[in-house]
């Protein structure tokens, strides 16, 4: 039972990360009807930008010393001689990393936003009105462009980046079982769910949110009603790239920075289809389900099986419900 809960917790944590990534794919699909196969590589760029702004830049000669490691007197006093892995030491080292984490996040968000705008303007806009097939394939082409560019700009080594939150093990007891999780994962979970909730609220209550929903409903009618549809498209790409940047930062701090992050995006695509392409709620459910199933598979069947869980799950779900859990059924006219 204890083991079960432990893996359940792990599953929920990785599920929340899946949801954060899936968010970007759904946002772009809702607004533009394009399924972004290259979202994983957008995330990869976010991760690399985070690395650049939080590791490479602070260590540059022209940056003041406090950026790379901020050590005011009160912080040193607080850390004192706390033992390694204690919450106090972890928080102290996190606070001393805080300037570069913030710099990294802001830089990654901004750089990724610019990248997404360029992609939207140069690749997706000229394809407006083309078949879905052409749109999908052009994002597939983007995979190679982004991967190659990343290989040119950054060397493809696994690098370490600072985590978003203080990282120390938390131990607690439930049903007489010892359970434990890292506080860093907890922070990631909170960040992911917070972003997800914020976006839902924005979509529901703000002007641009309503514009996105109207465009999702019917592009030409939205256009006729005075909604700036091309602007909605760029907004959607902005949402995808910025949430992607955060996801990239989290992924990089969790598993190390490597080009494999890009491939992770593809398994998220399976999750998105499982939930239904145009439903945030369905995708959240699917992410949690896949997260938990993967972590259970890892527990019972080993890591290799866990990797293909999303693919098997999506096949099963699509066969039973062709449009995913909560996706809207397309109505075809003959």
């Amino acid at each position: 039972m204890g083991q079960f809960i432990q893996y359940m917790i792990n599953g929920v944590i990785s599920g929340s990360l899946l949801a954060l990534i899936a968010l970007g794919i759904v946002a772009v699909f809702k607004a533009t009807k394009v399924v972004n196969f290259a979202h994983g590589h957008l995330i990869l760029f976010g991760a690399y930008f985070y690395f650049t702004f939080s590791v490479v830049l602070p260590e540059a000669a022209f940056m003041p010393g406090w950026v790379s490691s901020w050590e005011p007197a009160w912080l040193l006093a607080y850390a004192g001689d706390a033992p390694m892995f204690s919450p106090r030491a972890a928080i102290a080292s996190w606070v001393s990393d805080l300037p570069r984490i913030l710099l990294g996040l802001v830089g990654a968000l901004a750089a990724n936003a610019v990248l997404a705008l360029i992609i939207e303007r140069l690749v997706m806009r000229p394809l407006l009105g083309q078949s879905a097939f052409a749109m999908i394939l052009s994002t597939v082409g983007l995979i190679w462009v982004l991967e190659g560019s990343a290989g040119l700009i950054w060397t493809a080594e696994a690098e370490q980046v600072p985590a978003l939150g203080p990282n120390f093990p938390i131990r607690f007891q439930l049903f007489d079982q010892n359970l434990f999780l890292f506080s860093g994962s907890l922070v990631n979970l909170l960040v992911a769910l917070l972003l997800f909730a914020t976006l839902m609220l924005v979509l529901r209550y703000t002007r641009s949110g309503v514009a996105i929903r109207a465009t999702a409903e019917d592009q030409s009618t939205a256009y006729a009603m005075g909604i700036n549809v091309p602007k909605v498209f760029s907004t959607a790409w902005l949402v995808a790239s910025t949430t992607g940047a955060v996801a990239g930062a989290i992924l990089a701090s969790r598993n190390g920075l490597s080009p494999a992050i890009g491939l992770f995006g593809l398994s998220v695509l399976a999750v998105v289809l499982m939930g239904g392409l145009d439903s945030f709620a369905g995708v959240l459910i699917a992410s949690m389900l896949v997260g938990i199933l993967s972590s259970m598979a890892q527990w019972k069947l080993g890591g290799g099986v866990a990797e293909i869980v999303p693919y098997v799950a999506v096949l099963v779900v699509i066969l039973i419900r062709p449009h995913g859990f909560m996706g809207q059924e397309e109505i075809e006219r003959i």
Partner: protein, 350 residues
Amino acid sequence: MITGHFKTDYSADEGIWSIWPKRWGLVAALIALAVFPFMASNYALLLAGQIGIFIVAVVGLNVLIGYTGLMSLGHGAFFAVGAYTTVAIHHEWPLTFPLITLVISTVVAAAFGVLFGLPSLRVKGLYLAVATLSANFIILFLIEQDWLAEWTGGVRGTETPNAVFFGYELVSQQAKYFFIMPVMVIMLLFAQNLFRTRFGRALIAIRDKDYSAEILGIALFSHKLKSFAISAAYCGAAGSLWAYFFPAILPEDFGLNMSITLVVCLVAGGMGRTLGPIFGTILILLVPELLKVVAGYVTGGDATAQTWVSPVRDILFGLMIIGFLIFEPMGLVNIWDRFWRFLSRWPFAK
């Protein structure tokens, strides 16, 4: 000046080689194919063999995507099934006649095609693309399993046999070339003929609008499944040739990369035409080689500069996909058509 192709009866209309440029073009191409191995270097033959194998696979994919309108991002899996079936057959009976192996591999791949075509009735378009993509991952996962490792070699891959015809082992590139090319030509002719039959026309009707086709009395499910089977069979044959052609195979050879390369060859060449896959495959497989030559020339063979060749190749590959979709969505075959149209009407119209 050609003003039109005048046909006086149905059989002339149905003929594949209806006009003299096509007839003589075919003869010229066959002669070129036959003469090429005696003039080319080993390296050129290696490339030619690879292109020939890919053409078989892309023509098969064309049956599915180009003629039936079903999207697939998982045909690398059928390629893998073909290749590994060949390896497994030679593992059990080392001296099987290569053509028999080829046929068995093709049939096994077709069976897998039917299996993974099953979702195609329920789902279409993007959902089918992701379903096939999932199938690709799952098949590769199975191949990598330990309990199949005796036949497949598992994650570490396996060595592949050479084809042996009546005691003569095909070892040199030239000999392999003469095994691949006839198979390629026969399969091309089969594909070209397929779309003159009732069945082929039914597939085209499904592509244009599946519900309308159903109303016209075409059984959607069986036709879609057969289309899947045929395209998988082509990929299986290509995989079998691949196993004979290369000394060893790895599961990751047949991953998403290959599946997408196949689709890209098709898009670059032009869908729904038999010439399209040929042009597309030649272009897509030759560009990296060209880039290697250019890079060698620019850097003067500097070894450190070689590190950026692979990323640049990736970027170029991606840009080619996007460029074709934006500027020439009908593919190379459209340029070819325009050229001939221009010639036949010159000097009167463009």
